[in-house]
Symmetry: D2
Subunit: 292 residues, 4 copies
Amino acid sequence: MRRIILGLIFITFTSVCGFSRSRTLNGGHGSSIVETDTLQSKVLGEPRDYTIYLPAGYETDTTCSYPVLYLLHGFSDTNQSWFHNAPLATIADRLIASGEIQPMIIVSPNAGGRPGVDWNGYFDMPGWDYEKYFFTEFIPYIESAYRVKEGKGNRAISGMSMGGGGTASYAQRHPDMFSSAYIIAGWLDNEKIDAVDPSDKVALVRQAVAEKSCLEFLRQASSKDLENLRTLRWYVDVGDDDFLLYPDLEFYKLMRDKEVPCQLRVRDGSHNWEYWTTALYSLLPFASRNFN
Amino acid sequence: MRRIILGLIFITFTSVCGFSRSRTLNGGHGSSIVETDTLQSKVLGEPRDYTIYLPAGYETDTTCSYPVLYLLHGFSDTNQSWFHNAPLATIADRLIASGEIQPMIIVSPNAGGRPGVDWNGYFDMPGWDYEKYFFTEFIPYIESAYRVKEGKGNRAISGMSMGGGGTASYAQRHPDMFSSAYIIAGWLDNEKIDAVDPSDKVALVRQAVAEKSCLEFLRQASSKDLENLRTLRWYVDVGDDDFLLYPDLEFYKLMRDKEVPCQLRVRDGSHNWEYWTTALYSLLPFASRNFN
Amino acid sequence: MRRIILGLIFITFTSVCGFSRSRTLNGGHGSSIVETDTLQSKVLGEPRDYTIYLPAGYETDTTCSYPVLYLLHGFSDTNQSWFHNAPLATIADRLIASGEIQPMIIVSPNAGGRPGVDWNGYFDMPGWDYEKYFFTEFIPYIESAYRVKEGKGNRAISGMSMGGGGTASYAQRHPDMFSSAYIIAGWLDNEKIDAVDPSDKVALVRQAVAEKSCLEFLRQASSKDLENLRTLRWYVDVGDDDFLLYPDLEFYKLMRDKEVPCQLRVRDGSHNWEYWTTALYSLLPFASRNFN
Amino acid sequence: MRRIILGLIFITFTSVCGFSRSRTLNGGHGSSIVETDTLQSKVLGEPRDYTIYLPAGYETDTTCSYPVLYLLHGFSDTNQSWFHNAPLATIADRLIASGEIQPMIIVSPNAGGRPGVDWNGYFDMPGWDYEKYFFTEFIPYIESAYRVKEGKGNRAISGMSMGGGGTASYAQRHPDMFSSAYIIAGWLDNEKIDAVDPSDKVALVRQAVAEKSCLEFLRQASSKDLENLRTLRWYVDVGDDDFLLYPDLEFYKLMRDKEVPCQLRVRDGSHNWEYWTTALYSLLPFASRNFN
């Protein structure tokens, strides 16, 4: 188990310069923890990594349990991406310390890696039943291995790009599982592919996205489906220069036309980590206030 | 010369997924460039590194010249820190592409490294005449080696922590050199040290900061000094949990009492890269609109 | 009882132009209501007005009860000021509709009017026991006349200028009454006045502010006092050009030195309604997330 | 000539309370001025009002001239609306004082009033050649009666709702006249009307909007037209709950598809003055940095 104690990164600058830091925000409660660990999956027949953020106090206040944000990475990324490419733990630490969000666990499972080499994708496809893994193994494991509050009201889901598609589709088809869904630059749809070579892992994920089209789901949604969607809070956040702008706008229009309350924000930016990093400033409060 | 073509980082994702990106923002102009290079300093008797951002179009529109933002790092950091710890180039690229800032060069010189081992500091001190180097070698070199617009109106200065102190003190004592000074969590003052061991590089920088106290400068400023300070635009940006909050507030109060126009912002945060990264969103527009 | 149904202001524009509005956010729940009413005070021996915001749904979902934000106006202002000079109801409507804040009641009591003619001030002073009125008559009345959730966890207090001083002092001396206190450009202190003409209503309020100095309270606070202060969430929000900046910074420094968690924000601006209006965007979420 | 000296509104609070205001931002330069005046139009055969903001210093620094932002109101509004329903002058004063925008003149002409009674609309229609008036009388008058910098580089245009449509259409068909166009919740298109009663002033404006459809203009734009559009900076700002969201998104998509650089922002909100007021915080810097 590899552990990175964030507190240690905290500058030793203080002593060498003779500055005195007047108060440490998380002082009495211990520091937050980011750790990467592995779960042996029977469904996938292999070990899968995940990276998890445990808020300050997790180790010391051992009677507390926490809601969980499931945060999905994009195509060609891994469980480490949200933690290495964005200062996720620093942002969460600060928002918790200032009371802007409640203490929460944030976990990112691995559903990706090298295109064409590693499996990529959040849906069941020939040879890679990731969705089955996610709901029957991964969530139950997290809820047993960590001190987690259970139930729909204590789970949020979000992700960017391929993970934004996973977010929307998981929330559409498992609406009883999450209190909110925050889609960042989501890959929500794809053109159908006629003949897919079963050894082509990139074609397989494209095919899976086409089959699980989040736009098509809405177009064909029954009134019962729509009623279920209304039990979650929805949010779409996409850049004006993103190549995924149009399907994301279409998703919002379908939600609005079908009277499923949903937020839309279009900010300046394109498909990159600056946009996804700044999305954390609205995602984390959104997830937090919709818990319970 | 080590070159990192930012454009290359840009996801090849596009082709593998069959997405079509409807337009590239910087397409026709080439991409921005971040490169690290070395200047042989006679003053310091050794080579010194710097890292520089050249905006999109620098290489293709070879008739253009640009204003320069000198961006100073903190204690124990180096010329790479602003580029490795913050998505500086991505932010600058986007703000330029959307027209929020004018195209500019951003350069960070090396004035630091391992505490106690490498020299740290922006001021002249026994054995390390960095300020002399900065003004007589570094700025002239940048203005000759790159296509740079010259003069006070085309130079801005900023930095965080030890670099915030360098920013304020350079601007106080060389007001003819810069159009604006943006101080982020600045180390502006230090207690005097009685006897400094000349081999103690940490004690030397603390001593230098004490001698160049930016607060003392203001307390003793003549009306001519104040008049000079009013030829720059000033900005102080510091977190409510920063251990340097009090001296930075004191600096602002002295500026206000002495009627030198200055902006003050206190945002949520402490002495870390999340704060310094988000400062870029106000620093870059501030520098841009005060050029020329 | 004068009632202004905000919904009516909502443009009939729609029909005349042939536009169709695809959905009304508050449609099914009725509109929010702003009304001004009068309470006969025995303590003050006269009727006192107040203006109250009742969220959408208040009239239709008659089983719901709500937390209350007590919002204090400034010197020379009245109970109408927060509603007439800022789009308070529009902002609250939108933040509730988007889920950023929970539905709440917002009420502003009258403690002011024409300087020197009407009584101004939140404290007990010779001839005007306003603080007694506020705690023994006004709060109980609001909690009986409206469907209000009771208790410390369901009350927040805020205000600007003279009302910012009222906020801080009420919260300091009645910490069991409020879950949070948000001080906007607070009048927190005043020089002592030697001889006050009892017919001079302006001198009386200045004297009262001096006697109830929020800075002095902190300087002399016992450890028990400080423990009580830590049961609230605190926030200070003041402009860099405000003439009340220095006492507000001093208040924050005292809080920080005495380890009472408190937020500080200094934004661009001075002592005017633009600043106070924009403060609502952080005040309302702050009050909301600290309710319960 | 009715004049409202904004400075006078500035609280006399100071003296009565014994506070001392440490500095006045606009002190030495005089205050900004908002005035309403009337222009006798030959084209329209009647007098037309306008309201104008003159920045601090306009009256004292009589050698200065300024760029102009033409700010169009909505259907049923008048020249006073931007000044009465939003704190336009306060916001402009502050942004100028802090250096975020350059000093500019802002003027709102009257193209509206009571629906069905007064003429409403920015285009030429039977009996009301407003566009002819705007370009041949109003702009020339402003540029002669006030100290105005002339030329495309010194004019910006913006407006909300019906005025957002006026903004887009004026900028499309007079691209040589403006440096930038900022469309707020623009009424950009309308269904064609078969038979219009020439005495029905509401039907006439709807018909005019249909004929001047900004979407149709883009669909049919020649490559020369598109080249002209690229000589301006464009910005679309519309709320996610606005009933005009869809045509505004369509406008942006057409601009993007035709490679005319344009910004898009979708913020939280609907068709009301809170949205239009907060738009000023991005509109004014946008207009400012695109002048000349």
